[in-house]
Subunit: 455 residues, 2 copies
């Protein structure tokens, strides 16, 4: 590159894929979208730019520092850092034109000026689903969210050969009720929740030591550890192991804890009808963001622990309260599309899941054949829309060079248009894999290709 | 709304659609994408944020003022104002990993802080296609771009009942060669091109007066007007009417003009094989942006002159020269998706082109039926992925209320799950249009729905 040219490298922390990688990523994105749609979630599209006051009504300190914020005219603007806050604004603004329960999906880019590191991007795709309603919303929608995410990840995992996954599920009401019982609140509660959140990432010894230091009450400390053994027993339900029942005698009077356990039971029981080994109770799942109020979940790939949770979400009650007097409650979940798949694609772990860039390449052999070849290409493109991708190459080069191009773009068939073919009104259709070739008039060729690409 | 709530209205000049409108817009967007793909264009996705120096290498004064520009850390950043400049950067950066001619499409949002007015948005979708290659690129790719845009607009126009359209085509080499002939250049040439560009929007009298003032040479003025009569005659070609031949005797020695006329002839001749009434030579099409160097085109809807050109583009030679020493030439076109369709959708002109938000709604009649209804819904969602959209409603409300919801979301079928249905293991499938209902086991229901939605 000569000195006076501008550096064209993409900004640090931003993603840019080559065409075949892009096709792979888009194939994955389309599968997620098809899965969300087929489960009854409908698309919305909100602006990338929001008024800063909208975004900062809920955002915590760390998020605020990461936001791309700027002025234009008199407006204090920011790029969205997630899809949930814009959704809360959308629901508040369009409340009278929506129907509830309202199930929406949104697959789009969000922006966070994080320190750039592998798998952490400054612009990345999230794939969100949420259900919201006014005042109340059956806990069965928690099941709807989790099962939709589960079947989406199942599809992706199969396609990309990622192996098994587990969804760890909890309910924040259980901890909230528990800490109420012992009058633990404010900073102390936050500090204990914080170490519970870290449990899976640290050794049991460190966890015990940290827990002890934060709780400062050996009885409560023991109960917390016993609570982690909360279990689901098919045909019976979710309960604390019998040996601890006497320790939890207070439970019968603690409505919040009981309600959390009942909800967790409903969720787990319903999910068992889908699979018996994928959905696990894990009370260490609390989710950092403080807006969750009930069910919470995270998702882990058995063979790819390096990604941490690849999909998470939960139930919230107060997300719209800065925007409207209406009491909107909801439950949602999100798949971190870029964070999961961009590294897998760039590292060549996920590859060859998408077809070639071009399926059928029309090759006119000289300039006299351009016009008829163009007609053929247009007929194939139109006749095979949504079935396959037809292109054409106009280059005055040796046939071998043109076939090299066909191979590069992954063409499964080439259509050769030369002087003889034009004279006979039958064009050579060559299968690039088998090497077989037949001479066909255009309509027969259209049918032959339809048969080949329509499974 | 109470006083202390934040205003949730979307920013002025930004678009936000209701779910049914969004589905209509997305249907249109998908048709464009399918059309581009089927013609052999491949997707790329570049960041919304670029380094400002990348964007401003080519942008003119007015564009620069409209750009959303801001700093983050040490970086001077901007939101892209079109998809062409980022594409030029992409091609320069990834040159060695691409294959040429490289045909790409990109359908995405771009940003311009224009004065907000109807049909002018600050965030809007463009749908671009381009072909680029090093050093040379056959004029047949101009045909590929124009015919792909034409068949896309044809599909959209039919779907949305927009009536006929015309594509006006010219070639900048004709004017460039003409002005060279008379040594007209610099500001005078720009000023004359500017009034030529406005010809269709002003009266002939005003045009004549303005032209005369700017040309200041009655011979040249007459020749310009004669040149506007350049015509295509089937089986002969593109030429100046015979009565003017002696005026243009210099043409035989003007290579640039001749080359422009020959290219225009190739383009028009090839397009005639698609339709004889859609492609018109119009030398008043010059396209404001100065990077075009050959073929230029604009597209007009007969019944909607208020939109001006709904799709335009052309040939360029020097788009990458700020980024690379390689000589990249290309041709491209763009459909202004938001500018055309958002007003038509918001005004209710384009409506009912998309199906309902939900196709099949599962309705459990009481809480005892939730679990089995959930299983049914999951089976339908999975079995009918990419075929139809299945949802479920968990609400303890009267059946009538639930049916109202079914109507609101546009459900074509409801599946009723009540105690009797569970007992008999056959569930009521009701056609919402005909009122017909049948009781079916789940697998039969799956097949019945498949038959109904798979055309």
């Amino acid at each position: 590159m000569s000195k006076n040219k501008i550096n064209t490298k993409v900004l640090s922390g931003f993603v840019e894929l080559l065409p075949q990688q892009q096709l792979t990523f888009d194939t994955i994105k389309n599968i997620v979208e098809a899965s969300y749609r087929s489960s009854g979630y409908v698309a919305i599209d909100t602006p990338v730019i929001e008024k800063s006051e909208i975004l900062f009504a809920k955002a915590g300190g760390d998020t605020e520092k990461q936001v791309y914020r700027f002025s234009k005219g008199d407006n204090d603007l920011s790029l969205r850092f997630d899809l949930t806050v814009p959704f809360a604004r959308y629901v508040s603004e369009h409340y009278n034109d929506l129907f509830f329960p309202f199930k929406r999906y949104h697959i789009a880019k969000v922006y966070r000026g994080e320190r750039a590191q592998k798998g952490r991007y400054r612009e990345f795709y999230q794939a969100d689903i949420d259900v919201v309603a006014e005042n109340e919303l059956s806990v069965m929608y928690d099941v709807d969210i989790i099962s939709t995410i589960a079947s989406t990840i199942e599809n992706l995992s199969k396609l990309c050969n990622l192996g098994n996954f587990k969804m760890k599920i909890s309910n924040r009401k259980i901890w909230d009720g528990f800490f109420d019982e012992f009058s633990i609140s404010g900073e102390q509660k936050a500090s204990i929740m914080n170490i519970i959140d870290k449990k899976a990432k640290i050794t049991p010894e460190v966890f015990d030591a940290e827990l002890s230091e934060r709780v400062k009450n050996s009885n409560v400390e023991r109960l917390i550890k016993e609570l982690f053994e909360l279990e689901f027993i098919p045909n019976i339900g979710v309960s604390i192991p019998e040996k601890y029942h006497s320790d939890f005698s207070f439970l019968s009077a603690n409505e919040k804890m009981k309600s959390g356990i009942r909800e967790l039971e409903t969720v787990i029981k319903s999910l068992q009808t889908i699979a018996t080994d994928k959905f696990i109770i894990d009370l260490s799942i609390v989710r950092g963001l403080d807006y969750y109020t009930g069910t919470v979940f995270e998702t882990f790939l058995d063979n790819h622990p390096e990604f941490g949770s690849v999909s998470s979400g939960g139930r919230y009650e107060n997300l719209c309260d800065n925007y409207t007097d209406k009491k909107i409650c909801g439950v949602g979940g999100s798949i971190g599309l870029s964070r999961l798949f961009v590294p897998l694609i760039e590292d060549g772990v996920v590859t060859n899941i998408a077809p070639g860039l071009v399926d059928v390449l029309v090759i006119p052999q000289n300039e006299n054949c351009y016009l008829i070849a163009t007609e053929i290409k247009n007929k194939l493109s139109e006749g095979l829309v949504n079935i396959c991708k037809t292109s054409i190459i106009y280059e005055n080069k040796k046939f071998k060079k043109l076939m090299e191009y066909a191979n590069k773009v992954g063409a499964k068939f080439v259509v050769i248009v030369g002087d003889d073919e034009v004279k006979n009104n039958a064009f050579t259709l060559k299968n690039m894999q088998s090497g077989e070739q037949v001479a066909l008039p255009i309509n027969d060729m259209l049918n032959e290709l339809k048969k080949n690409f329509n499974r």
